[in-house]
Amino acid sequence: MGFLAPFMLVGLVAIGVPIAIHLIGRRRARIVPFAALDFLMATKRKTARRLQLRERLVLLVRALACLAVAIALAKPFTSCERKGPQVTRGPQAAVLVIDDSFAAGYLVDGKPWIKRASDEARRIVAQLGPEAEVAIVRASEGAEHPTELTRDHLRLRDQLLALEPSARPADTTRALTRAAQLLAASSHARKTVFLISLQAKSGLHPDEPPWGKDGPTFIALDLRPARMPNLAVTALKVDSDPNTGTRGVAFDAEVGNFSDEAKKVELSLTIADRVVARGELALAPHEKKTKRFLAALPAGARASDASVSLAGDGLPIDDRRYVRATLRDEVRVLLVDGDPRTVRHDDELFYVEAALRPGDREDSGTSVRSITAEELAGITKLRGLAPTIDLNDFDVVVLANVAALPAERVTALADWVRAGGGILVAPGDRVDPTAYDKTMLPLMPQSLRDPIDTTWGASPEDRDSRALHLVKWEADHPIFAPFSKDAPDLADAKFFKISLLGPTTATADRKVLARFTNGAAALVEASIGAGRTLLFTSTLDRDWNDLAIHRGFLPLIQQAVRHLARKHALGIESDHLVGGSVALPTGDLKKLEVRGPDGIGAVFEGDRLAGRSSVRFGKTDHPGIYRVIGTDQTGATHDREELAFAINVDPRGSDLTPVDATALPTSGTGSAVAPTDNTRRVELWHALAAALLLLLLAEAILVQR
């Protein structure tokens, strides 16, 4: 032990002060010979002993207080071996990369691991000293990063104290890259990156080094507990199950065992806040298995919140996975075949029928009736007889390569569309644009012009290269919701012949939803009264294109039909992850409000909603079920059950397998290395000051008694 101000130890003589006061006090005391005290002390020595003890204690406390004052003023310190990372005090630049992914909520001794990380980070900030410029970079995917280093250590400490695990997986490599960028902008010679993370494999990408050779000094802190076994529900799919009845649904829950030992997992299925099924899974180390639950949705509900959870482990957030289970609304489609063939696959409707009723199963969600163009005459009165086809039995009519219809049928169809029906028109060789202009315009979003054949005159080997492709589709539109912006399932399809479009008709809200590579419109949508019309400018079979044999054809046709029928929700939920955005169809809503599981959400209205067929909601920060409340044009507000969606954590973050030390980044050479000093000075006067306060308190209590 040493002293920073040893001359202050002269004050130790002050210890004599209370002793002198004690002795003087004794001398100044009045002396009274007292017989009864003698008796009292002889008979009841307890009081005397207590008084004597108290007197000595007071003297001792006062002497110690004087001692503490003198020693504290001399500022004692001691030295000890450094533990933990090499932290050197002084001017420097440092970035603390802290893992705040959901894995940081792993419970270690009953407390989230992130508290341990936060404590360690605060200790490092304190040791760096006030001259250090520091930044804190959170390592969760999509986290906001600071733009500069700061000397405001108080703010840093507050940030660290407020640190909570997010619901996102770790992206440590991106955070380290950002740390290197921040340090690169600093003029300090000494630059250090401290990594306080669980060092899970999933967040680090060894093939993407965060800095080059001249990067900063890198110190990775090993705060990981010895064992971090984790179990997680990594996927949950729901599908209708006709075998269980009309309300039957099947849940396929995938469970992962991210530990080195075999585990037996208890799973439970919850529908509408009630546990309806339980099951067990035996999992080998690092194994994933799927458990199927069959259940029925509650009576009267078209959709329900559901979740599968497993018995709690160290990381609760990934032990439950949510899903919205929705019963399919059957869409009734009338397919009008303009070019019927006896050879099945040559038929105009062969691919459309297959897409709408895959496997011809009852649970496909679509009922299809196919007729020829001539049979469509049944929608009108024929020679005074009642119509044989009631359009009101259908939600959607598809006119595939149908030659221009007589005016009375068009009128009947147009009336039906205006009342809320949906019609999809696709051209073909039997479509004559001139004839269409004469009668069909009430059903068309735009008039047709002559088709162009891009392969005309090309040799067979050049044919493919001259084909058109779909590009620039409205990714936010419900029809394209299942597709990403560059979905190869659509983009790879080749279009050899397409119909060009004429001048705009009088239809409202006309919108081109997709275009070809030459800029021509591929899919045009317009409103007619309360209904909708869609015009696809190529054929629905393989005559003009090969879209029908691409994987994108099925979802495109199904989505188009459902969009026309205004029945978007399908039984199969797409898996939305925390941090991702969700496209919500706006329909005719005046206001749309989204509420998350924590009650916080967003409101779309006014300019954010007007003229849009869908909006994107991106505040998906917590896993759970998000509700959508819509206000229609009449001002009525309804819970839009069919739009509610589930958000889940990214299963990548559940794998806590540690990364090899060799896969961690290495220190660069672009930083001056601090001199090695393995001892650390620990100042003791704070403790002495605290002891002094306690002594004064004790003295006050003793004197009062």
Binding site: G25, R26, R30, P33, F34, A35, L37, D38, T43, T47
Partner: protein, 305 residues
Amino acid sequence: MKLDPIQLQRLGSLPIKARVIVEGALSGMHRASVHGSSVEFAEHKEYSQGDELRHVDWKAYAKLDRYYVKQFEQESQLTVYLVLDASASMKFAGGGLAKLEYAGLSLAAIAYLVTQQQDKVGLVACGDRAIETMVPPRARTNHLHDLLGVLDELMKKGGAGDESPAEALGRIAELSRRRRSLIVLASDLFDPDDATLRALATLRAQKHDVSVLHVLDPHERTFPYEGLTEFHALESGAKLLANPSAIRKDYLDRMNTFVAKCHGTLANAGVDYHEVLTDNPLEDTLLELLVSRARLQPGAARRTG
């Protein structure tokens, strides 16, 4: 008019003081209309079979034509032992007379009174080997002078030692085994092992009349001290530096308990107990003792003619 104990102390020699106290007390007795003991007194009882014929009052028969028998009390002389606790604790004086002086004056007055009644009076003092004194009981006037002289000397010496009166009381029990005696103890009863209380109870059990003057100083009963004080014990030499206000309640509780215990133990044993404070007029103390004795044993001091 009553004399303050301090004023009384200024009066000449001890015999004079004793006489003053007794006269003051006796004047009080008239007011109390209580007949004293040990004076010649008789009463008549109608004759019944078995009474001695020599005791028949023939003059009464002549007057009333009925037989009355003269009855007399015990005809022997009363022996009184005065026991003075002269231990060190008795020299405590809070502001007035020391307890020893007060006790000495009280016993002197009783000796004077007893001698006046032709009864025998003796003195036993205890406290220290140097002080231990035994004046055997005698009834002569010269004896009173000797006894008062010894008493005066003891008072002048002041208290010493820590011997309790228990041993002295035991010696009296030995001496007066065959004869009932009156034993008057003046002490503060500061006795760590209660031996004095037991000895008094033993004497009472042996049919002796026992009176106790429990002499305490007013300061011992009120503990009026203030400010930092170092108390020196008189017998043990122990010292205690204390703030009296901090220990007053505890002390007074213990003192009250002690007095209550003495009173309770002695009253249960049939001992005539009087707590007296040293600022109490001595003639009142004497009078209280006399009245109490007369009330407890109205015929105890009668003698046959």
